[in-house]
């Protein structure tokens, strides 16, 4: 049988999803199930004076006295813990924070009841942004508004900056975004007397089980988390939220099943948001364009509380750590601040830390190119870490295990025909058309293990994944894993891995949904870890099953196990192809008493994999845009990618992940803004205000070349699900800046901003200086 890893096979899970037979959390029905609605704060910051509730099932903080708040830990200095009670106690700190909860037979009735709950608030002065939060005399949301602070110096950056021939400086502002999966969050909970069942569309089932058990004072084994089909996650569904705790508590309290399904307004205003940061970045360089030093200050607007399990440190610290990127920079200093404001907490969103880090760095590199009148490709070429230097330790301490940084840059230029594009750009400009070409090079940490999480201080995330591979008596192979999927296609890609290992067709492999009572323990699906950490566990378990199968075959064939070889789904004695058994016969034999008791019954194995620190993917992206100087609109004419995600499991799926990431990146660059007014009121509460890309924003011409340098992780894979979202904002921002000849310093690049830049570009003539603001 030829290998299936590497082949573009259509997905196994699609057959139910295409025919309306998927089962998402909102589709679940249990007898007697009640519906839940939350009463949420309309104020960004207020004291709760009183709550008056009608008769009926209405609960508030006072009813949940025994429930522990969400209070994630982080090891190391500079961390100020916060505690978010699942229903606000005394004070609300963002619009949308749950204040009370109601239960009724239908959602319609629950919302009627919620509307009758009268909460008397005493408004407090809001802290709408980081400037307000850091100003003297600012209202304090906790004992301090700075929830995390860290600084780091590598080498002698100040000395380098004093002596440097060239210094460029810019301040980049990324906008507050939100993942906006098409399916919101949701929970069904039921207590059967001994077990609390929680069906929820989480990315981190093991962690949610631990956190719910801790919060509700239950033994961990008394909580059973089951993950149904899930409509996208992108990081937002990796956190523990107040609603999971409250709904679970209601199930315990009421003894009936309860269901809560998040609506779009709740998702846009009360689920974790992401990204809002100000990054001050300075580059020191020689006149030849060689980078000598980097200084950065990253200030994150992280909202009102830390999120579990990652905390508010994750995003801004991630920016600082990835900022040097694929460039060889000997000296680096950074300062990171995570600052509390009266907005919802920020959490993980595809590209965590990396998207904003790459945006800031790639804008700065382009400014350096402009300053030195060098081609942006040439400046990058002179600074990318060369292939002979791996493992390479970056100035922030990340160890790049391998990479093809220069090759990716050359390949993307060849793919896009860069020289020709520049000529076209000049011709277009003569005709009054503004074309721009933008590059973004990046390196991406994927498949992180426990050593990386511990070194960062992320004590709540273990780092390993687990897999159980079990061959049933009929030869069907069941795979239980610790990490759930939200559309990535695990039921297919993991089956491909096992299929090759056991020489079976993909149809014989069933990857089951995560159920913490049956699936091994693990960290979950985030940070591009499934094809590295997850695949490592699956391959290890399948490898053990393979050895066991060989031993059973050897007993059946009366041969030595090392003489048994596999071919086309059969096991036979080396050199004697007529002495063979089928895999099905081996599976059946595993559950009978074997002759002479030579082999113990059963054919299954459990394995865990805790990957070494990280394996790094890398890529170069190139965007070509046309800017309309009259309307301010930006059209992406072409998008080119040269990426190295190691060995590819399924090219169809890799392509889909890449396109999806690029679309999200384009959204972040041009459209998406979870805007708040100066008083902390959300302005984007529907899909009419929070604009996610439609097909019209997606360029038709997207071309990709894969470099496929294998990692030294099991299978040679690297993570790849975030790349598009990491690089696209930078590539598009650089392309717009190139088109209008003025620096882009904030996202999203709205038509108003474009018109402003067009005016500046035509006034200044050339993008000569970094923007000081």
């Amino acid at each position: 049988m030829s290998q299936v890893v590497g082949r573009p096979i259509p997905r196994v899970e699609d057959l139910r999803l295409l025919t309306g037979r998927g089962r998402y959390v909102a589709d679940l029905r249990l007898g007697g199930m009640q519906q839940v609605a939350f009463v949420r704060s309309p104020y960004p910051h207020a004291r709760i004076r009183s709550i008056r509730a009608p008769d009926g099932r209405v609960y508030r903080a006072a009813d949940l006295q025994d429930v522990r708040p969400i209070a994630p830990r982080w090891e190391g200095e500079g961390f100020l813990p916060t505690a978010q009670p699942p229903l606000a106690e005394g004070v609300v700190r963002y619009v949308g924070e749950p204040v009370a909860v109601v239960v009724a037979p239908t959602r319609y009735a629950a919302e009627d009841l919620a509307e009758q709950v009268r909460v008397d608030y005493e408004p407090l002065p809001p802290v709408p942004d980081v400037d307000a939060a850091l100003s003297p005399g600012a209202p304090r949301l906790h004992s301090d508004n700075v929830l995390y602070r860290r600084s780091h110096v590598h080498g002698d950056p100040d000395g380098v900056f004093r002596r440097a021939e060239v210094v460029v400086r810019t301040v980049i502002r990324s906008s507050r975004c939100t993942a906006a999966p098409l399916e919101g969050r949701g929970v069904v909970a039921w207590h059967d007397g001994s077990t609390l069942w929680v069906w929820t569309n989480t990315q981190t089932p093991s962690l949610i089980r631990s956190a719910l058990a801790l919060s509700l004072g239950l033994p961990e084994c008394a909580v059973r988390v089951v993950v149904p089909d899930t409509g996208g996650g992108f990081g937002q569904k990796m956190h523990l939220y107040p609603e999971e705790i409250v709904v679970s508590w209601l199930a315990l309290r009421l003894g009936v099943p309860v269901q809560w399904v998040e609506d779009r307004r709740e998702n846009l205003t009360a689920s974790a948001q992401a990204r809002e940061e100000r990054v001050e970045v300075e580059l020191a360089a020689g006149t030849d364009g060689r980078l000598l030093g980097l200084r950065a200050r990253i200030v994150g607007d992280v909202g009102a509380y830390h999120v579990y399990p990652t905390t508010a440190a994750l995003e801004p610290l991630g920016v600082a750590q990835i900022l040097p990127g694929p460039y060889d920079i000997p000296h680096y200093a950074y300062e990171v601040l995570a600052v509390a404001t009266n907005k919802p907490p920020t959490g993980a969103y595809r590209g965590v830390g990396m998207t904003v880090g790459v945006l800031a760095m790639e804008r700065a590199v382009d400014l350096l190119a402009t300053r030195l009148r060098l081609d942006p490709v040439e400046v990058r070429r002179r600074n990318l870490v060369s292939e002979g230097r791996f493992p390479y330790t970056s100035a922030s301490g990340l160890v790049y295990d391998g990479g093809s940084f220069r090759e990716a840059l050359e390949q993307v230029c060849a793919l896009a025909d860069y020289e020709h594009l520049r000529k076209e750009q000049e011709e277009a400009r003569r005709r009054g058309k503004l074309l721009g070409i933008g590059l973004a090079c990046y390196v991406e940490y994927t498949g992180l293990g426990s050593t990386t999480f511990r070194r960062r201080g992320m004590t709540e995330v273990p780092g390993h994944e687990g897999a159980c591979v079990r061959v049933e008596p009929d030869g069907t192979v069941r795979v239980h894993v610790s990490f759930s999927h939200q559309g990535q296609g695990h039921e297919t890609t993991l089956a491909q891995l096992v299929a090759d290992m056991l020489h079976q067709p993909v149809e014989r492999i069933r990857v089951e949904r995560v159920d913490t009572a049956a699936s091994p323990h693990g960290s979950g699906t985030f940070a591009s870890r499934s094809s590295v950490a997850g695949a490592g566990a699956v391959l290890a378990a399948a490898g053990r099953v393979r050895e066991r199968a060989q031993a059973i075959a050897a007993a059946l064939l009366e041969a030595a196990p090392e003489d048994v070889v596999w071919e086309e789904g059969r096991l036979f004695v080396r050199g004697a192809p007529h002495r063979s058994v089928t895999f099905e016969a081996v599976a059946a034999a595993a559950y009978r008493i074997l002759p002479g008791g030579s082999v113990s019954p059963g054919l299954e194995a459990v394995a865990y994999f805790d990957p070494p620190p990280a394996t790094f993917s890398n890529a170069a992206h190139l965007a070509v845009v046309e800017v309309d100087a009259r309307t301010g609109s930006v059209r992406i004419l072409g998008y080119f990618v040269a990426e190295d995600c190691g060995r590819i499991i399924n090219p169809l799926i890799v392509r889909g992940q890449l396109y999806g990431g690029i679309a999200q990146g384009i959204g972040e660059a041009l459209l998406e803004h979870a805007a708040y007014d100066d008083h902390g009121q959300p302005l984007a509460t529907t899909f009419m205000d929070y604009l996610i890309p439609t097909v019209w924003e997606m360029p038709e011409d997207v071309r990709v070349v894969h470099l496929q340098h294998p990692s030294d992780r099991p299978g040679g894979f690297k993570g790849m699900a975030e790349g598009g979202a990491i690089a696209a904002p930078a590539a598009v921002a650089n392309a717009v800046a190139d088109a209008v000849r003025a620096p882009v310093t904030r996202l999203p690049i709205t038509p108003e901003l474009v018109l402003e830049l067009v005016c500046r570009g035509s006034r200044d003539g050339v993008d000569r200086t970094a923007d000081p603001a």
Partner: protein, 162 residues
């Protein structure tokens, strides 16, 4: 709030149903809760995302923006009426082969719009496909493989008839 009930008759996927619903109940909720047809998904409940699209007398509508009572006497078609896992509709087959879905949440609505679209545009241009698809939000795919799937579906529906 007092709730008013109304008994309505409607045809869904070829079968006639009589259901008693609150007058304020949306068609989407009635399909999902009263008729158990959970293939129709709710992504925004304000008419933007298109996940809840069904056919009403053959034309695509947002079932979150219609009251169930408005469907009285009409014919509704949902994703459950297309193919089955072992006998996919040609449009479903094309989405499968071209990886036109990831999480699958927006997919039923897009499939229903595509059914109507290909009946009226049997030989669509790429721009026509993009224009139709612009009425739907998908957060996973970046749309390109959906466009490829619809192009392939047009070719195969054209060969076999709708």
């Amino acid at each position: 709030m007092t709730t008013r009930l109304r008994t309505i008759r409607l045809t869904v996927n070829g079968s006639t149903h009589e259901i008693t619903v609150e007058t304020r109940k949306t068609l989407a909720d009635a399909l999902r809760e009263d008729l158990g047809l959970t293939g129709t998904h709710l992504g925004c409940e304000h008419g933007v995302c298109g996940a809840c699209t069904v056919l009403l007398d053959g034309r695509p509508v947002r079932s979150c923006l219609l009251f169930a009572a408005q469907a009285e006497g009409h014919e509704v078609t949902t994703v459950e009426a297309l193919g089955t896992p072992d006998r996919l509709h040609p449009i479903q087959q094309a989405f499968w082969e071209h990886h036109g879905l990831q999480c699958g949440f927006c997919t039923p609505g897009i499939l229903m719009s595509t059914v109507w679209f290909l009946q009226h545009h049997p030989h669509p241009t790429r721009d026509e496909i993009r224009e139709m698809l612009a009425g739907h939000l998908c957060r996973c795919t970046g749309y390109l493989q959906i466009v490829e799937a619809i192009e392939a579906a047009a070719r195969s529906v054209g060969r076999k008839g709708p």
